[in-house]
Symmetry: C2
Subunit: 434 residues, 2 copies
Amino acid sequence: MGTSVRSVQPSRPGPAQTCKVALVGFGTVGSAVARLLLARAHEHPFQLTHICNRNVQRKKADWVPGTVRWTDDIDEILASDANIVVELVGGLQPAYDWVRRALESGKSVVTANKQLIAHHGSELLDLARASQQHLAFGACVAGGVPVLSGLYDGLAGDRLFKVRGILNGTCNYILTRIEQLGASFDEALKEAQQAGFAEADPTDDVDGPDARAKLVVLARVGLNADVKPQQVLCRSIRDLVTVDFEYAHDLGCTVRQISRAELRDGQFFAAVEPALVPQGSPLASVSGGQNMVMSTGEFGGETVFSGHGAGGNPTAVAVVSDLLQLLRYRSPGAQAPDRPDARPYEVSGDFETPHYLRFVVKDSPGIISSLAGILSKYQINIDAVFQRPGHDKAALPFVITLEACKTSRVETAIAEMRQFAFLAQAPLRMPILR
Amino acid sequence: MGTSVRSVQPSRPGPAQTCKVALVGFGTVGSAVARLLLARAHEHPFQLTHICNRNVQRKKADWVPGTVRWTDDIDEILASDANIVVELVGGLQPAYDWVRRALESGKSVVTANKQLIAHHGSELLDLARASQQHLAFGACVAGGVPVLSGLYDGLAGDRLFKVRGILNGTCNYILTRIEQLGASFDEALKEAQQAGFAEADPTDDVDGPDARAKLVVLARVGLNADVKPQQVLCRSIRDLVTVDFEYAHDLGCTVRQISRAELRDGQFFAAVEPALVPQGSPLASVSGGQNMVMSTGEFGGETVFSGHGAGGNPTAVAVVSDLLQLLRYRSPGAQAPDRPDARPYEVSGDFETPHYLRFVVKDSPGIISSLAGILSKYQINIDAVFQRPGHDKAALPFVITLEACKTSRVETAIAEMRQFAFLAQAPLRMPILR
């Protein structure tokens, strides 16, 4: 560092020094970004110069100044004098090509595209560096909650080894509705779709890929780990039923879709799945479409970030915050929000954890004994057995909780249990977080 | 901005580029900072060169390398080649002189000194700018919780208008003990002192000045407001008794020391005082010595930050995060974490809010009527009256809740109530947060 800390006087960017911004993608988030930039125009030096979208004619909005150029041609953006491209089209293609080309043509990029960063983060960050540009992606995780900058800047001094979170608002909305109303998954999903919280095809949300992409980005920024989404185990919330919440409550817990990653003894563990969380945990208090991230560091312990994880305005705040940070810290000495030494890992889903096993059986004598026999064979200790009264004997749900052991051992035991004719459904396994 | 976004390739600071750090103050936080810097020495370019403390001989620790120079002479630090001074002595003097002189002698400063920044923030930031140095103070508020960087960087894109928080762990510890054990304030304070959570003289914590300094720093960073601590109303938690928690529970609330600041119609409101918070609010879930900050923005809504607000290690994480951020973003274009346009405000404590009034009376007929008469005179609407059974008629506690109105009106009404001979104690007023 030497004398370079004696830097020259920081310049104060003012309206005179304008920075030209092209917006690519003018959906909910894109229009919120435009509104936010325009609403605060006197407070920052950004000038919105272009809006690019398919069939752009039908998108034109009268509140956008006439000086903004509307186009459906990405080449026009790339050939323009815009300094920064804000990519909000989502998905891998054509976003990947566009972001690459923007960086190559000497533009910095701000993106809210979690899949893009989850799949191609390292490559695009390298390209940004080689192109002497910045790539900022603070809006990828938890929308308006400033968790990526919190982990990267605010907790830089710690050595983080664990991140856990509720990263998908749709799942959280559905699960809280099942819990509150005793609704079935299908009913809660339908309600979420009607309320605009879920897509017509909810796969990406309820089966985990959306949360998984966010977890991979979190792991890059918080844990310095460069892993691919397809390495991370995802399990759906589709198999949850009301009785799981009843048993969870008996255990002092609730059920949430939890995304977690952990570094332990040089190994990297990660999974996205429904899990039991204690009622006293901050994770249990997240309701509706909110998001939460808890990080754990060797020195500072647990830190919690929560707020609005989705929606046009919160996500737009994250995008504009990235723009401002890029401007504040743009300079020869500044680095983009990527730890330079993010390193690749194998990913294991084999957490050592207590488990909840829910069975639905045709009642007959000897069931517990048969199941316990298999658990014992794999040296898995039973913690407790719960059976709520009032259920149909032909489809009787009950729960066995297990002491902490490797998930793989429980999986093997469950596979062997499938032979039993008394099972009316495949057993449901969930970790119990502590 | 023009072409400057096309910056040259960011340099990667490595061990070769060392940055010399002098530690001033070697108490709990100072030694934790030294340990953290030494534990992660291979991961960052900081070299601990000096440790300065009074009676330094008795402070010397064998785990500190022999290359570190121990001194009790600040002039030696100021004359040294250290690039950054980390000020951890606390209090206004001599810290103020030392920080001034460090900046003037061409050193950047990282400090955890909330009183210093609360009282002299603008002046010292101006001096840092004029000296072409940085002044970082992320550890001043909520210790290890990265709330200042979260507000300044992560939520820069929003227009924040409200911050509320639990900023003093000692008060929170005492209040949760009164709540859990039915202890008196004095008993809970004694227990907190024995557990190391409270000082022998607890004034700074329980009467509000500690939280007030943090609130002033939060307001600077989050709300862009330059106000002085002495402008902000502080009310003690000393007058709270167990029955206040019982009534609070009846109202679906609990009691916490809340620090809050709000910009509304160009006016700035702030106070530090005990308040009722709904059980469903994140603020109610903060237990023991934890800290929490909730910010509210025009665009992104509510964001919550929480974690360990004090203690050596969490505070050291914040200090080292500041060091790293200073290094990452040190450069001609980078600014210290201060919004350049923080502006001065008059401060009003006259929030418009619902109220909780707790009376202790010698029971006699006509009490409610007398009190209601005064409230009515000042056009204050009663929401409800609560009286729990089983109390002594000579010192009967009961509660009147009021609909939202200006605090000043309630104060005036209370002043007038003091005439009543049936009052066994002065009435206790608390706002009810929503």
